[in-house]
């Protein structure tokens, strides 16, 4: 076991949580991410691999919540896979072993910061941060869009009062600041 201690995207040892009486913003540091892109001519093989991992292949704009590996659609023939970091830190390698040359895998764990936002002010909150039609979105709908000039991915969890936001890790502070001030304005 190596000797280097990781820090969270916000730079802490422990992930940060901000609780407002109607809303909570929770830094989620527990996820490993890997991108999965089908190679030309191997689209079907990749579908099979994904089915095996997720049960269902996430269709356009959808996320599949599964245990231990979840996934969501990223672009044509491209998905993002997520799993608990403790058990799957090497997610990219694990999947690569299954799909071999059929897919291009790329470790993405370090590229993203993840916030889970929960609470009954969620819809009003979303209306103030981005142009996702949050009231129309169903559980499992994902939307890549920009939040305060940051290129983010929004996933509406199956529970209507919860969303997951992935944002660029280097801008974790700026994204958190934007979410925090919006929550304050709604408080």
């Amino acid at each position: 076991m190596h000797s280097l201690k990781p820090v969270t995207a916000l730079g802490g040892i422990e992930p940060r949580t901000d609780v407002f009486h109607h809303l909570s913003i929770i830094e989620n540091d527990g996820l490993a991410l890997a991108s999965f892109a089908a190679r030309r001519g191997f689209e079907l093989e990749c579908q099979t691999v994904l089915k095996g991992l997720l049960g269902v292949v996430p269709s356009v704009g959808k996320a599949i919540f599964n245990d231990p590996i979840s996934g969501f659609w990223l672009g044509p023939d491209q998905w993002m896979l997520t799993a608990p970091r403790d058990s799957h830190e090497l997610l990219a390698d694990i999947v690569k072993n299954e799909c071999g040359a059929a897919a291009s895998m790329s470790e993405q764990t370090g590229a993203w910061v993840c916030f889970d936002v929960i609470g009954d002010a969620l819809l009003a909150f979303c209306e103030r941060i981005c142009s996702a039609p949050i009231r129309q979105m169903q559980g499992g709908d994902t939307r890549r869009t920009s939040i305060h000039h940051l290129n983010c991915i929004l996933i509406k969890q199956s529970a209507g009062d919860q969303i997951r936001i992935f944002g660029p890790r280097a801008s974790a502070d700026s994204l958190h600041h934007a979410l925090f001030t919006t929550a304050t304005a709604l408080a």
């Binding site: 076991m1 190596h2 000797s3 280097l4 201690k5 990781p6 820090v7 969270t8 995207a9 730079g11 991108s35 892109a37 089908a38 190679r39 030309r40 001519g41 491209q78 090497l90 040359a101 291009s104 790329s106 470790e107 993405q108 764990t109 370090g110 590229a111 993203w112 209306e127 103030r128 981005c130 142009s131 996702a132 039609p133 009231r135 129309q136 305060h148 000039h149 940051l150 660029p168 890790r169 280097a170 801008s171 974790a172 502070d173 700026s174 994204l175 600041h177 934007a178 001030t181 919006t182 304050t184 304005a185 408080a187």
Partner: protein, 983 residues
């Protein structure tokens, strides 16, 4: 005097009294008042001064179309110039000042302009102030500028915050008057997603201003009930204090919701206003109509108002504009005002109607005639009337209500350049056929002037709009109410008048329009631009029609033939702050922080903005006072021992797939097909026009896997470009891309001791010896006992150097580890300044050289461009002028006298001869002090530079007063053979 003009009734809450100050004097008003209604209630008629002649002015309207009663609201950093007293919601502690005056409002010294009105006609400026030429800036203009302008902007930062938001709906209803309420109710009951927006703080529009009943309810009570029902529906969003400012493409509307403007200061953390972007499927415009004035001599005195405004102040705000009121009208609506006033016990001294068939009244005198002049400098005292029989009659009064008819409020129908069309029966423009996508118009805004008609058209419009998007709905039952036809005789101005105001705010009079016509400015747009008609803060809501009508008459044509004016967003003037939202100050752009940021901060590093990145610029040690001391030390440390620098900001793109190598062959001008696994290669990327776009290295980690680096600034554009090549040019190539810039924390470890240092980090089974891992090698390795990492032996500094990457979360730990284990080599962190010096010493091109105009040849890399393959930009890079003799070539520059400065941006001139553009030989792109050489060095571009090594030249920067004798040398100042980096 305390609310001397307050009447009974109205929709104000007398249980809440607000104290406020206007021009330093304290007054009282009630909850539900506007500043204007409260001032009128207190008998204040004089509220401002006009733009050009500084004429005393009072309030003209009761709405957002107000041209006259503009004040500076609040003070200090929150001061808002040009705020319309008619829309300012009264709150306790409100402060307001009149504006555009020199001295007290009553004795404005600039009123002198009025005396010279004969000179200050339209277009006056264009004909004079030309002699002598130099006097414009020095004498004339400063005077003109000081006299012009209205309110003043504090120079202090706006202390409030603004938010932005995004809303979706099936139907947006703009305006909550009878038509809007009927439309919203119809749609709301059908279950459609509805947004109802109104600029007012009280919904109901004209219903609040009339003495009508709907069935057995008063108009305001009916409106209250409807609004209550709408608020109870989960699918309806009722937005008070929300102005739809613009109709943009594809059903997108801009809306500004005023959250805190009715408070003395916003609550902590709360925005002052919110800019909403509303995505609509359908929209119903129900913005009503705006009454228009009639022009007559001295028609601008305080106390002269629109008749409907006087009615509004009486019915809604329970305020009599004055004790004695006269009405001047060309249509039945003026009489409605007289009736309501009389019913409330206000003395109506007479109604002057230009029509022979004017309705009679037992309650007050109705005169057939015209108002030909008025008296009362600071407030109306008397009106002079010419009766039909030619007799002149005067009436004493303190207020005159003028009604010239109603203009449908078509503003938003014009935002996509749609033009309104003329209707004779109501003598007004109505919305044209080319409306913004998905918009329909209801009620008075569409020329349907009766209350019944408005309600009916509102509910009908809603049903029609919803059916288009497949939502079933039922028309609501229309209550019994007023259904009078429009009876009007078009009448724009009283013949023979000269100083009769058309545009009150900009002081455009009838005679200005006549002069405009006389001088050939007859097209509507010429008229507007020449006279400034309609260019004021009300965008001519009350003035354009009058001006247009007079121009039509002068041109001997009809109003529609004379042309139409077109309205532009925003509907009403909108605070610039709200368009910016939170994006100001430090939040203007998001920040990108490197994995070592926290650690660098602990070291007291100086940071610099590089795009959105914050990078360590240098790391001062105790005792170092000048940045140069730190930078020189960092540079020497790299050259003599070892330094470490966070290079995470360089773009990284994962290129995978069976044809990854073929793909790189397309995007780089040099070849990659034969690059062996485990090797890196420098790549130069051209734009299709043959100019250098970016450069970096590509490392082949596997047969089908490369990691490509880009410059920090170009990471995004290069990725976009690569996707373009992949998707649009070679759609069937087997290659997949994804950015990994932030996935990996990457450090450059550079200097003679870098290998020794890394041997303490990288796990032993990786052999770092020069034979096993030579220059330009790359490999997946593990560090610190098993953490996955990537190692590249590449060098930007020209020293033995490596770049080591670990997953971002471990970047903080790794830099601390490197510093710890590197202590024995006195490992030195270095920042972007040292990085710059090191690369200039090696003559490596960077952003300043890849400036978007330089070719591979300019950069001395002409040979790199492969002629044996198809790559982006290779063909156009061969254009004649790009390869002709005399093209710029990158060279090194050193001062003949080591003490002399060399600066970037200086130009190169021959040793002898004139110094001017015609003799320009080139320019310096990057310069620095080289602590290794002990003097300044630079690289730059010189005509035929490669042939001129050793030449003595002059380096000139007249801008900064520098002229230095320099020598052209090789750009490789240090280790030209490159032995160190291969060591």
């Amino acid at each position: 005097m305390n609310q001397v003009n307050r009447l009974k009734g109205g929709q104000i809450d007398r249980s809440v009294t607000h104290r406020f100050k206007f021009d330093g004097k304290t007054f009282e008003g009630h909850q539900g008042d506007t500043l204007a209604s409260a001032l009128l209630a207190n008998g204040v008629r004089l509220m401002g001064r006009s733009f050009k002649y500084h004429r005393p002015r009072g309030v003209l309207t009761a709405g957002s179309e107000e041209p006259n009663a503009l004040v500076e609201l609040r003070n200090g950093a929150r001061q808002e110039p040009n705020s319309r007293a008619t829309t300012i919601e009264l709150f306790d502690g409100l402060l307001a000042k009149s504006q555009n005056r020199l001295g007290p409002l009553k004795y404005d010294l600039l009123a002198i302009n009025d005396r010279f009105s004969n000179f200050l006609t339209a277009g006056f400026y264009y004909k004079t102030f030309m002699w002598p030429a130099a006097f414009w800036e020095k004498v004339y203009e400063p005077i003109i500028r000081r006299a012009a302008g209205l309110g003043s902007l504090s120079q202090l930062d706006d202390p409030d915050v603004y938010d932005k938001g995004f809303l979706y709906c099936d139907l947006l209803v703009i305006g909550a008057g009878p038509a809007g309420l009927a439309a919203a109710l119809t749609a709301g009951r059908s279950g459609a997603e509805v947004i109802l927006a109104d600029e007012d703080f009280r919904m109901g529009g004209r219903l609040n201003c009339e003495s009508l009943t709907l069935d057995d309810q008063s108009a305001p009570a009916w409106a209250d009930d409807v609004v209550a029902e709408l608020k109870s529906l989960p699918n309806v969003r009722v937005m008070h204090r929300t102005t739809i400012i613009g109709a943009f493409d594809h059903g997108i509307y801009g809306a500004v919701e005023r959250i805190s403007d009715h408070l003395i200061v916003p609550d902590l953390g709360k925005p002052r206003q919110i800019l909403w972007r509303i995505y609509t499927k359908r929209t119903i415009l129900a913005t009503g109509a705006i009454e228009r004035p009639i022009a007559f001599e001295n028609n601008d005195r305080p106390g002269i108002m629109l008749a409907s405004a006087i009615r509004t102040y009486a019915n809604r705000f329970a305020v009599a504009a004055n004790k004695k009121i006269v009405i001047f009208t060309n249509n039945d609506d003026g009489h409605r005002t007289a009736k309501d006033l009389h019913a409330m016990g206000v003395e109506v001294c007479g109604v002057i109607d230009v029509r022979a068939d004017a309705p009679r009244s037992l309650d007050y005198e109705v005169l057939h005639g015209q108002v030909v002049d008025t008296k009362g400098r600071l407030g109306l005292k008397q009106v002079k009337i010419r009766l039909e029989n030619g007799n002149i009659r005067s009436l004493d009064c303190g207020a005159l209500g003028v009604s010239g008819g109603w203009n449908p409020n078509v503003h938003l129908t014009c935002h996509q350049r749609g033009r309104p069309t003329w209707r004779d029966d109501i003598a007004a423009f109505v919305p044209g056929v080319d409306l913004p996508l998905g918009m329909s118009v209801a009620g008075a805004a569409s020329g349907i002037m009766s209350t019944t008609g408005a309600l009916q058209s509102g509910t009908d419009a809603a049903c029609a709009a919803l059916s288009v998007i497949g939502i079933k709905s039922r028309a609501i039952t229309i209550p019994q109410t007023e259904d009078a036809p429009v009876s009007i005789q078009p009448f724009w101005y009283v013949r023979g008048c000269r100083r009769a105001w058309i545009d009150l705010q900009n002081d455009v009079t009838v005679k200005d329009i006549q002069l405009s016509h006389q001088e050939g400015f007859r097209a509507v747009e010429h008229l507007k631009r020449y006279t400034t008609l309609g260019m004021a803060t009300d965008q001519g809501k009350t003035s354009n029609m009058g001006g247009l009508a007079i121009m039509a008459e002068l041109a001997g044509t009809s109003i529609p033939k004379a042309g139409t004016t077109i309205f532009r967003p925003p509907y009403t003037p909108t605070a610039i702050g709200v368009f910016a939202g939170r994006h100001r100050g430090q939040d203007f752009h998001p920040k990108r922080l490197t994995p070592s940021h926290k650690w660098a901060k602990e070291q007291g590093a100086a940071f610099v903005e590089v795009g959105n990145w914050m990078r360590a610029q240098w790391f001062p040690l105790a005792g170092e006072t000048k940045w140069r001391e730190s930078v020189d030390r960092e540079v020497l440390a790299v050259r003599t021992s070892v330094g470490v620098c966070d290079v995470t900001t360089l773009g990284k793109i994962d290129v995978q797939g069976a044809e990854a190598a073929e793909f790189l062959n397309k995007i780089y001008c040099n070849g990659f097909a034969k690059l062996a696994v485990g090797k890196c290669r420098y790549g130069l990327m051209l734009r299709e026009d043959g100019i250098a776009k970016d450069d970096g290295t590509a490392a082949r980690l596997a047969d089908d896997h490369f990691v490509v680096t880009t410059t920090t600034a170009n990471a995004l554009p290069v990725y976009r470009h690569m996707e373009f090549v992949r998707q649009c040019l070679f759609p069937d190539m087997d290659v997949q891309l994804i950015s990994t810039t932030e996935s990996w924390a990457q450090y450059a470890v550079a200097g003679p001791n870098s290998r020794a240092l890394l041997q303490k980090i990288i796990d032993p089974f990786t052999d770092l010896s020069n034979d096993a891992f030579p220059f330009m090698s790359c490999a997946n390795v593990t560090v610190c006992g098993g953490l996955r990492a990537r190692l590249f032996r590449i060098s930007f500094s020209g020293e033995l150097a490596y770049e080591l990457a670990v997953p971002t979360a471990y970047g903080d730990a790794l830099i601390r580890k490197i510093i710890a284990v590197g202590a024995e080599f006195n490992v030195t962190p270095y920042g972007t300044e040292a990085l710059g010096v090191l690369r200039i010493e090696k003559g490596h091109a960077a952003g300043n050289e890849l400036n978007g105009t330089t070719t591979a040849q300019n950069l001395g890399m002409g040979k790199l461009v492969s002629k044996t393959k198809d790559s982006i930009g290779s063909i156009l890079s061969e254009r004649a002028a790009l390869t002709a003799p005399g093209t710029l070539c990158q060279v090194g520059i050193k001062p003949l006298n080591p003490a002399d400065p060399v600066i970037a941006g200086a130009h190169l001139m021959n040793e002898k001869g004139p110094i001017d553009a015609a003799h320009d030989q080139g320019y310096v792109t990057s310069a620095c002090f080289s602590p290794n050489l002990g003097h300044a060095i630079a690289i730059g571009f010189l005509k035929d530079g490669d042939l001129r090594l050793g030449e003595k030249m002059r380096l000139v920067s007249p801008l900064t007063g520098i002229e230095t004798k320099i020598e052209i040398v090789s750009a490789h100042f240090i280790d030209p053979q490159g032995e160190r980096l291969r060591a």
